[in-house]
């Protein structure tokens, strides 16, 4: 196994993880989440023993995103999403993406992003996120159901 330096790890995965984090917490908080995730993962005691660093980082981002939602500071984001106006960031384009994503939880957003942007299979999504296929299938089904009604498709 080729050992990457921490800088190389960041260079390799920084962009995609930021995109992933954006789908979870929106553009305003995604850099924070990714920063936290990198610092947490790269300097953890077990980092050198991690075999699938990419999956590990994705899971760390999800974990940080969930903390983001559950922490008091991040209640701001949650409240913003929960508030009747439901605005996370300035909406642009025809599809009000942030408004729609506000109705999904972090795991559902994770599954949707990896399925529809990275075109991963359920097995691959489960492996990437460290969850069961059943969970992936169920969360994806719920997310599609919600989005279908929100988008009136």
């Amino acid at each position: 196994m080729t050992t990457l330096t921490k800088g190389e790890v960041f260079q390799r995965y920084g962009v995609e993880l930021t995109r992933f984090a954006t789908s979870l917490v929106g553009p305003a908080d995604s850099q924070d989440v990714v920063s936290d995730a990198f610092v947490s993962a790269l300097w953890s005691d077990g980092w050198d023993r991690v075999e699938d660093q990419r999956a590990y980082l994705y899971r760390t981002v999800v974990s940080r995103a969930r903390m983001n939602h559950r922490s008091t500071t991040r209640r701001r984001s949650r409240e913003r999403r929960a508030a009747p106006v439901l605005t996370v960031a300035p909406p642009t384009g025809e599809v009000d993406v942030w408004n729609a994503l506000a109705h999904l939880n972090v795991v559902e957003r994770s599954v949707v992003f990896l399925t529809y942007w990275e075109d991963l299979t359920e097995v691959d999504v489960a492996d990437r996120l460290g969850m069961s296929e059943r969970t992936v299938r169920r969360r994806l089904g719920r997310a599609r159901d919600k989005l279908g009604r929100l988008l009136d498709v």
Binding site: G14, V15, S63, V85, L86, P91, A100, M131, E133, R149
Partner: protein, 738 residues
């Protein structure tokens, strides 16, 4: 096949990527210890420095976090959007479990379903039957016939009626041991055991490193000898815990890798583990452990395919569940049944060896090797109407003036012979140290004790006269995550927990948690998030706030609603809105404002809010008059990993990372009632506390569980007290156990 919905979602993801910012600055160094920056006049600078993470890359120092990244984008004005949040037409099954009487149980969105397998008749249990919420994740049935179900933060026991208990907040798996105790997993490496009254927690040794997936294990099962088996994902293998020691099995021990995480304990003592090939390489299948050796079965031995799930019946029949079929093991050979497909997860086997599993298109299917039986999910009833809220009137509601609190019994006092300054017994049972955003405390003035909810959601009281903890083991449970914290309602003599989704009420006289309504708070599911709360002794009501919408008239400001909650009648009343227009200088680069209700002072009869732009806002609860002040206002950025606040002595105190504790001085209207943190607490320890709450009996501020470390991994169960009159810190409890 790509549907129109799929195309729309792909368009959305494209937009997400298009609007994604560039990656943050690269981190090339560990997070340093908090900067001891107290006594710096500018609170924002101090907190920003304490929160920042400095890293070194190529000889250049980079800054991550801090105030620069705390700037919040201002949403542009928008109209209110009404969105349908209707539930699906039928219950969505999850876990399936067989009871000793042959009935089949499934956890579902909306409740728990029991089938009489003979007749196929379903019975649905919902919140109307005593379940605390409608989002049960799992259901398991013990050999004693007791049914257990649970969701995040709760479990419920069914023995003819449902009884609810607090539980670790987790979406982890659940299993029942031969002794009837329930096991679940939470966090990144924790197991929890519930014997019907108390939770015990056990942590996988750090030396057995795992990933950061939460929950860390997807499947648990308990063997006949009581050993708990936990299957993880990927290369982390399988853990076994016998109550004292941990064992860890990986591919080095003969397990196929990667695993699916499923484990099943057989009645003969063997353990079966399923595995799935991620990259298509051969070798995946099912592994059997006889106590010393792993034996792997693959397609070479007759299995149809990889094995996402494996289930074992009481008769020893082993079923391997594949994506598009199942295989049965008779002790010698495997027989494949292609086409008998369920969801591929959460299967179970009954006493006759029949396999039951969730069907792809809803319901549950059973397969005995010959025939397929189908159990349909019952239709879901229309959700009951939600609470009706009064319309915003645009004016300040006079209810806080016209409603009067009832007579209040005398507050408790310390009995003769007790010494509140003497340390409590070191060997006493106490809440586990730790930190989550759900920790909360409130002082019960009638009982003279602090009510505390710990990281497991368990209820404790702390006697401020003897400095001792008491685990309450209440009837019922606090449900859901807290957002507004705990508030003691003096008038009604109950403590109210305000959560994201539910209100829970604790009655110390009966030691009972109840939910006054099964509905979520407010008109729309999940849309009423109480932000801070305070008891108003004039009206006897609990006041809280929520953000409603961004102010469409004031382009860069939002506004907040103040609501009153009457716990006696379960009525919510809109009082009015709070808004102020900060100057550009006040914004300091932050385009928005954020208000949180920290407390109330009867001396000045004002609600005390803080804003994230260094502004304290005092609100007259009788008129709604809001007075902002920027004088020495700390940035009380209350989230992870920042500070906490707590009411005490007719005002509110805040604790910031690396800072002293300061209270709002109601005589000078400044945050100047400060207590310097002792030096011994600054050594990267006790940078914050799990909870702070006033002790009016002894005129102290009680600080619960010091927390330190870069990521809250270091916590101590110590209790400190600050004497308001002497300005002295006293350690009133130093438990001898972690």
């Amino acid at each position: 096949m790509s549907s129109r919905l799929d195309d729309r979602i792909r368009e959305m993801m494209q937009q997400v990527v298009d609007e994604s910012p560039p990656p943050p600055d690269p981190p090339i160094g560990p997070p340093p210890a908090p900067v001891p920056a107290w006594r710096i006049p500018n609170w924002a600078v101090a907190v920003g420095a304490a929160m920042a993470v400095f890293v070194l890359i190529g000889g250049v120092l980079w800054l991550i976090g801090g105030t620069a990244t705390d700037v919040i984008d201002e949403p542009s004005p928008s109209t209110t959007t009404t969105l349908s949040l209707d539930e699906p037409a039928a219950y969505d099954e999850g876990y399936v479990s067989v009871a000793p009487d042959g009935s089949l149980w499934a956890a579902a969105d909306g409740g728990v379903v029991r089938w009489d397998v003979t007749s196929g008749t379903p019975t649905v249990y919902t919140t109307e039957d005593g379940l605390p919420t409608g989002d049960a994740f799992r259901v398991v049935v013990g050999s004693d016939g007791i049914v257990w179900t649970g969701g995040s933060g709760w479990i419920a026991r069914f023995d003819g009626s449902w009884t609810t208990f607090s539980a670790p907040r987790s979406e982890g798996p659940m299993a029942v041991g031969p002794d009837g105790a329930v096991w679940t997993a939470f966090g990144e490496r924790d197991l929890a055991r519930f014997d019907g009254s108390e939770w015990q927690t056990f942590e996988v040794p750090v030396s057995l490193d795992q990933g950061v997936a939460v929950p860390w294990t997807a499947f648990l099962d308990v063997a006949v000898d009581g050993t708990v088996w936990a299957g993880t994902h990927g290369s982390q293998g399988v853990f076994a815990f016998d109550g004292a020691d941990w064992a860890h099995y990986t591919s080095d021990d003969g397990l196929p890798a990667p695993l699916s995480g499923t484990v099943a304990a057989a009645p003969d003592g063997t353990v079966w583990v399923g595995s799935v090939s991620v990259d298509g390489s051969p070798g995946a299948g099912v592994a059997r452990f006889d106590g010393s050796t792993w034996t792997v079965y693959t397609t070479a031995e007759g299995l149809l395919d990889d094995v996402p799930d494996v289930a074992v019946g009481a008769d020893g029949t082993v079923w391997a569940i594949h994506q598009n079929g199942v295989s049965r093991f008779d002790g010698d050979t495997w027989t494949a049944f292609p086409g008998v497909a369920g969801l591929g997860m959460f299967a179970t086997v009954d006493a006759f060896g029949t396999l039951w599993m969730p069907a792809r298109d809803g319901g549950v299917i059973g397969f005995d090797g010959i025939d397929i039986t189908r159990l349909e999910m019952p239709a879901k009833e229309t959700a009951s109407p939600t609470t009706t809220m009064p319309d915003p009137a645009g004016t300040w509601n006079p209810i806080l003036t016209t409603t009067q609190a009832g007579p209040v019994p005398p507050a408790a006092t310390c009995p003769p012979g007790t010494d509140p300054d003497a340390a409590g017994p070191a060997d006493q049972e106490h809440p586990a140290a730790g930190w989550t955003s759900n920790l909360a405390a409130a002082f019960d003035q009638h009982a003279g004790r602090i009510l505390y909810v710990d990281t497991l959601g368990e209820t404790w009281t702390f006697d401020v006269c003897t400095n001792t903890w008491l685990r309450m083991n209440p009837t019922g449970a606090l449900i859901g995550e807290l957002s507004g914290g705990l508030v003691y309602d003096v008038d009604s003599d109950v403590t109210v927990a305000l959560g994201y989704e539910h209100v829970s009420v604790y009655d110390a006289n009966t030691n009972t948690w109840t939910q006054p309504s099964n509905d979520t708070i407010g008109l729309d599911e999940g849309r009423f998030v109480p932000m801070g709360a305070a008891y108003d002794p004039i009206s006897g009501l609990i006041l809280t706030t929520r953000q409603v919408r961004w102010n469409e008239q004031a382009e860069n400001a939002g506004y907040w609603e103040v609501w009153a909650y009457d716990v006696d009648t379960n009525d919510w009343t809109l009082i009015g809105t709070v808004s102020f227009e900060p100057s550009q200088a006040q914004r300091q680069g932050n385009d928005t404002q954020w208000l949180e209700l920290l407390g109330y002072s009867q001396m000045i009869d004002r609600l005390i809010f803080e804003s994230d732009i260094q502004t304290t806002v005092l609100v007259d609860p009788r008129t709604g008059e809001a007075t902002p002040s920027t004088t020495d206002t700390p940035v009380v950025d209350l989230g992870w990993p920042n500070g906490v606040y707590g009411p005490a002595d007719d005002t509110v105190y805040v604790k910031l990372v690396g800072e002293d504790i300061c209270g709002f001085d109601t005589s000078t209207l400044t945050w100047s009632a400060c207590f310097e943190t002792p030096a011994e607490l600054h050594n990267n320890l006790h940078i914050v506390f799990a909870a702070m709450v006033g002790d009016p009996i002894n005129q102290r501020l009680i600080l619960i569980n010091g927390v330190g470390g870069s990521f809250w991994s270091e916590a101590t169960p110590d209790i400190w007290a600050i004497d308001f009159n002497a300005a002295e810190w006293t350690q009133i409890l130093t438990p001898s156990t972690p």
